[in-house]
Symmetry: D2
Subunit: 268 residues, 4 copies
Amino acid sequence: MTRVRGYFHPKTATGDASLIPPPPWRYSGDLLTVEYRTDPARVRELLPQPLELADEDPGAVALIWADWQSCAASGRELLDPVLAQYKEAFAVVRCKYDERTYTRCVYIWVDKDFAIARGLHQGYPKKLGSIHQTRPHPYGPAPRIEAGARFGATLAAADRRLAQAVVTLREPSPTNGFVNGHPMAHHRWLPSIEKGGGLALDELVESGAAAFEGGQPWVGEAELELFDAPTEELARLEIHEPIAAYYQQVGVVWDGGRLLASRVSGAQ
Amino acid sequence: MTRVRGYFHPKTATGDASLIPPPPWRYSGDLLTVEYRTDPARVRELLPQPLELADEDPGAVALIWADWQSCAASGRELLDPVLAQYKEAFAVVRCKYDERTYTRCVYIWVDKDFAIARGLHQGYPKKLGSIHQTRPHPYGPAPRIEAGARFGATLAAADRRLAQAVVTLREPSPTNGFVNGHPMAHHRWLPSIEKGGGLALDELVESGAAAFEGGQPWVGEAELELFDAPTEELARLEIHEPIAAYYQQVGVVWDGGRLLASRVSGAQ
Amino acid sequence: MTRVRGYFHPKTATGDASLIPPPPWRYSGDLLTVEYRTDPARVRELLPQPLELADEDPGAVALIWADWQSCAASGRELLDPVLAQYKEAFAVVRCKYDERTYTRCVYIWVDKDFAIARGLHQGYPKKLGSIHQTRPHPYGPAPRIEAGARFGATLAAADRRLAQAVVTLREPSPTNGFVNGHPMAHHRWLPSIEKGGGLALDELVESGAAAFEGGQPWVGEAELELFDAPTEELARLEIHEPIAAYYQQVGVVWDGGRLLASRVSGAQ
Amino acid sequence: MTRVRGYFHPKTATGDASLIPPPPWRYSGDLLTVEYRTDPARVRELLPQPLELADEDPGAVALIWADWQSCAASGRELLDPVLAQYKEAFAVVRCKYDERTYTRCVYIWVDKDFAIARGLHQGYPKKLGSIHQTRPHPYGPAPRIEAGARFGATLAAADRRLAQAVVTLREPSPTNGFVNGHPMAHHRWLPSIEKGGGLALDELVESGAAAFEGGQPWVGEAELELFDAPTEELARLEIHEPIAAYYQQVGVVWDGGRLLASRVSGAQ
C-alpha cells in the first residue's frame, strides 16, 4: 500500500521532487510600489460576489514590483539560488468581505515555476512574465535609497511590454502605501475535469504575513505607463490620478491562511 | 452583482486575460519516445493507492519528448506563436485501477505557462524545464524521418541536465510504443490553505484524446542517459533494459475527462 | 611555446571550447519573408560609403524570419540540439558596390550565442531577441504549406515587441522574393581598444551560400506591423507599400567569403 | 555621401540602435571570488605566445561570479533595467608579458547581448550562460555580509551545470584576492572572412579600471565543484588546492585600454 509524499506535485516516495516544500516560506526582497486611482467600476468588475468595493477610495490600485530571494524552513534554496530567486510584478486593489477590508491581487506575473506553484496555493492568479527593477547598490552608478534616487521597473509577458515605471524617491515615509496593507482575499479556482462541470474547487481564502520586518520606507513620485496586449487586461485599470510611489526592503514569512468560504459544483 | 469570466485565472469582466481558454485544446506535434524497463518497485512507489502496478510488464517506462503547437477552438494562438508553441519532456508508467490499465505521467517539464495551466487542469505534475529535440526537415543537414535518421533530445531544469537521448530510426512500426497507449489516470491535488489541513482537492481523474490523427510511426534504438539532481527524482527510474524508441508526428484534440474518485479533507 | 587552438574564442589547447567550429556551416530551416517598399532615403542612410542605393527599386526591404537547425562539418550539434537550433529575424535591403548589386542585412536578432558569433564573422549586426514563427505540420491545427495557410511571426528584444506579421499563402511561386537574392555585402567593424582610436577593424566583405537546396516557394500576402523602441530603429524602415510575402524550406551551406575592401585606423 | 553612426553594430543614421554606446562604461555590482591552485601546465596551455606563466604562484586561478548593473555616461540604461542588469561568471589566471604581470580571463559566460558586445571590444571570450549568486539583503533569510554568512553561486551553459560554489565568510580582509588584481592582457581575434585566410584581427590589448570604489572585502572558505561538458573546458582547470574565497561590493568605470601588439594576416 503506497503512500506518496510531497507538499506539491510531483509526489514521490521521498517527497524530494515536490515543486515546493511545505510552508513556512521565507522571503527577502525589495518592493517598488506605485499607487494610483482608476475608475472604481474597473475595480468592481474584477470582484466576484460576495466581494464588494472597499468603502473608502475604492478606485485605488497598487502596481508592485518585487525582487525576491525565497526559501522554506531549511533555507537550502538560498545556496542554489536558481531555486530561490525570482521577480514579480502584480496589481492589487482593495475589497470588502463580511464588513472587513481586504487586499486582492487581480493580476500577477512571476519568472519561476516554484513561484507559480506557491501562487496556486495562495490564490494569486500567476502567469509567467519578464520583470526587471533597478536595484539599490552602495557603489557605482546604481542608486542608493535616498532623496532623488531613481528606480526603473518594467513588466513584459508573451514578448510584449505591459507596464513600465520610473520612481523618484523624495523622503522617508511612515508607510509603504495603503492598498497592499490588508490581509489578502483570494479565490482558489479549478474547473472540473468534466466538460460543463463547473468548478471543482471554488474557495475564498484569506492569508497574510506570519512575520514581517522591514527597513525605512521611502515615498516619491512615479511616471507609470500601462500598455495594451491581446491577452492581458492590466491596462483596463486606467491611470486616472497618481497617488504616490514607495520603496522598501523587507523580510517576510508566509505560513498558511484561512478558508473563508467554499462552494463545490458551483456553476463556473 | 459581479460575475467574472474566464476558464482559468485571472478571471475578469471579459475573460480575455484567462491564462488558458476552455477546451477543446488542439495540438500539432512531434513525439520522440524512449521505452525501457526499470525496477517495478520504483514504479510502485510512485502509485498512490488505490492505484496498483499493471499486471503485465509493470516496470515499463516511457520517456517522451514532444514539440508542440497548440491552440483552443479559434486557433488564433497559432498566429502569435509565442502563445502556441511549447516543448515538453515527460515520463509515463502504467498502472491498474478498478481492473483497467491506465497510463500515468509521473514527471513532466514544459517551457510555457499556458502549458503549466493546462497540466494543472489535467493532473500533469508540471515543472518548468528547458527541452530540446532534433526536428526532421526535408533539406540540409537535419534528418528526414527515414531509416538511419538520428534525433537527439535533452531535458534540463534549474540549470542541470536531467536526461538526454539519441534515437536512431530503423523501420516503420505498427505502433508508437505501448506505455503511453492507455487513458491517463492522474491526480489533481491542492493542499488546504490552512496549516495541517490536508488536501483541499484530491481527485483521481481519467482523460484521453478526443480525436487523434498521426503519421507513420518509426521504431529504432535509443542511447538514453538520466542524471541525478537534488530536487529531481527522474533518475530513480533507473534504466534496467532498453525496450525501443519511436518517432511519430501527430495531431491531437483534448476535450475534458472524467472524475474517477474524489476525496475531500483527506489527510495529506 | 604555446599555440592555442580554436576557430573562435575561447582558444584552448584542444580547441573544443571554441564558441563555433570552423566553416563549412550547414543549415536546415524555414524562411518566412515579407517584402515591402519604404522611403529610399531610409535605406540610403543605412549604407555607409562607398555603398550606394540599388539602381532598381531602391526602397525595397525584406523582413525575414528563419527557424534554423545548424551545424558544422561533423553535424554533431544536431544531436544535442540546444547547440544547433536557433531562430532569427532580420531586415535586408539591396545596395550597389563597384557596379554590382548586393543584399545587405541592416538589422538582425537571434536567440543563441553561437549564432551571434557566426554573425560577427560574417558581418551580420546581431543582437539577441525573442523570435517566433508558426511551423508547418502535417497533422492537427498547425498549417500545411498550401493555399490559404496562415503563418504568424513575431520579434521582440529587450522585452518590447518590435515586429509582427501574419502571412497568408496564395500559390506556388517561381522565386522566394528578390531583396535577399544577391551576394551579401557586409561590414566587419570593431572599435580600437584605445579611446578615440577609430576602428581597429573596418572591412567590407562579400559572402553567399556555397550550396543551396530548397523546396517549392509559395507567395502570398502579409499583414506586417513595426513598433518603435528606444534602442531600436527597425520602425524607421516605414512600410510604404507591400510587395509580397513568401514561404520556403531550405538547406544551405556557408563556407567563407571574400574581402572587398579593408581600411585600418580609419576615423570611426 | 552617407556616414553611419554608432559605437557598435548596427550602425545607423542616428546611432541609437548601436548595441552598446561608447565608453566610459560604469558598473555597480557584487563580486564573489573563489581562488584555488591548479596544475600550472593547465594554465600555460591557455597562454598563447608571447604570454608566459607568472613567476609566482603560476597555477593560481580565480573563478569569479559578478552581479552587475551597468550603463554608459548618461546612465539611462539603469531606468530600463533589462538594458543594464546582467550576471557573469569567469575564470582568470595570471600571466607575464614584457616582464609585467597581467590578469587574463580565459573563460567567461554572461546573460545579455550588450555584455557580449562589450566583451568583444575588451577581449573577453564571452559565451552565454545562466549565472546565479546569492544576494546579500538586510532583512529575511538572505545573508547579510558578515561572519558565517553563506553565499551560493552557480554557472550553466547549454543546459549543463558547469560550476557551483558555496562560500562561507569568516572575517574582513585587506584584499579581494590576488589573481584578478592586475591589468588585463587579452587578445582580440577575428578570423579572416576568406577560407584559410588566418586572422583578420589579432591584437594583444591591455586594459583596467579607470576608476574604482569598493566596500570592505570579506574572506572565507569555498566548496567549489567544476563539471565536464562536451563543449567546455573549464573543468580542465582542476582544483588542486583551495586558496580562499572573497566577497566585495564595488563600483567600477571602464574607459578604454591600450594596444600592446598587433599582427595581421597571421597564421591562425
